[in-house]
């Protein structure tokens, strides 16, 4: 399992997989969200192994 810190700050657990696959699973459009692990930006096809903490940042802000 991996931990995912959602854009609004909540953390959830989900199965390991590629970044894009995880984003789709959680209902995000991969264009609108950037994923980082240990402070590094990840590409959509990167695999997140068990134990990874993925942090999601929405590209949308404000009004």
């Amino acid at each position: 399992m991996i931990s995912v810190v959602l854009p609004e700050g909540n953390t959830i657990e989900t199965e390991a997989g590629c970044v894009e696959e995880i984003l789709f699973r959680l209902g995000f459009n991969p264009y609108e969200v950037l994923a980082t692990a240990e402070g590094e930006l990840l590409l959509g096809d990167e695999f997140c192994a068990d134990g990874t903490t993925l942090k999601l940042t929405s590209i949308v802000h404000g009004g």
Binding site: L43, G44, V60, H61, G62, G63
Partner: protein, 296 residues
């Protein structure tokens, strides 16, 4: 995992040319902004550029990149405090911090200065009008502050996504005047000209640049966003951009091509001064004072 096509380091962002590492991506992004400034002839030697600086992601990246490009101009920044409870306080702190770190002269102006009330107070009975009221009053506050700071231009953080969304929104509203930019006036002397250096940079690349360069702090979402048509258009275009990459660029390119084929209106609307506040307007009252009359 992909490697940077320029140096073989671990890639962090996929551009249309190929994947890039953090260092080459940052350079690619800055070069893109510099190219847009040149292409649209936005900044000239000796200019004093006032950056509309909310402290959010786009304007933080904008101010940072303008500083890093070492342009032959002077930069100042203005933050407009609309008075939105639970939202603005954090972004203003972030703005102060960034401006101080970059050594840029920074002024904060509030809606209370402009009209005596906060946005929350103005919208007590009509929150649906938030984006329209806020946009109009913010433009007035920014224009006035930029004039007082003797700026030649106001740079805003509107990126490619914002521009493409605006094109689509104009059609959805049936607003032909805005869609064709056919309004022609003597406004140049009264309004400080706007420039949008990020207009050819995607929101995704802009936020990625902010993350790669540790510029961004987590900030709350504006509580009025849920009322905006832009939110629906943004979601729709975001899906299209993912399914058909380049959609946003094609919309912006198409709009530019359309405008280049449009004859410039020969009817020049003479602008005068608003009876109430003295700001430029074609009517008795400017848009901001009309909004305020309806709300107060």
């Amino acid at each position: 995992m992909a490697d940077c096509y320029l140096c073989g380091e671990r890639a962090v962002f996929r551009t249309e040319d190929g994947p890039l590492c953090a260092k080459h991506f940052s350079k690619w992004y800055e070069d893109g902004v510099a190219a847009a400034i040149k292409r649209y002839d936005m900044i000239h030697a000796g200019d004093r550029v006032c950056v509309g600086f909310s402290g959010g992601k786009d304007s933080t990246v904008l101010l940072t990149v303008l500083c890093r490009l070492n342009l032959d101009c002077e930069l100042v920044a203005v933050t407009v405090d609309e008075g939105i409870g639970g939202y603005r306080d954090d972004t203003i702190l972030a703005a102060k911090d960034t401006a101080s770190r970059l050594g840029v002269e920074h002024r904060i102006v509030s809606f209370t200065d402009v009209c005596g009330k906060t946005l929350d107070e103005l919208l007590e009975n009509s929150p649906q009008a938030a984006c329209s009221v806020c946009g109009t009053l913010r433009r007035r506050a920014l224009n006035r502050a930029a004039r007082e700071m003797e700026a030649n231009s106001i740079a805003t953080g509107h990126c490619l996504d914002d521009e493409s969304q605006s094109v689509v929104m104009n059609y959805l509203r049936g607003d032909v005047t805005r869609a064709t930019a056919s309004f022609n006036s003597n406004s140049a002397e009264l309004f400080i000209p706007r420039i949008k250096p990020l207009c050819r940079s995607s929101e995704r690349a802009t936020v990625a640049y902010g993350l790669c360069n540790n510029l961004l702090v987590p900030l709350p979402e504006c509580p009025y966003t849920r009322y905006a048509l832009r939110k629906d258009v943004r979601t729709w275009l975001g899906k299209l951009e993912y399914a058909k990459p380049g959609t946003l660029t094609r919309i912006a390119d198409g709009q530019e091509e359309l405008l280049s084929r449009m004859p410039k209106s020969e009817v020049v609307t003479e602008l005068g001064r608003c009876e109430k506040c003295g700001e430029p307007t074609a009517n008795r009252l400017c848009a901001a004072c009309q909004q305020l009359e309806r709300l107060m």
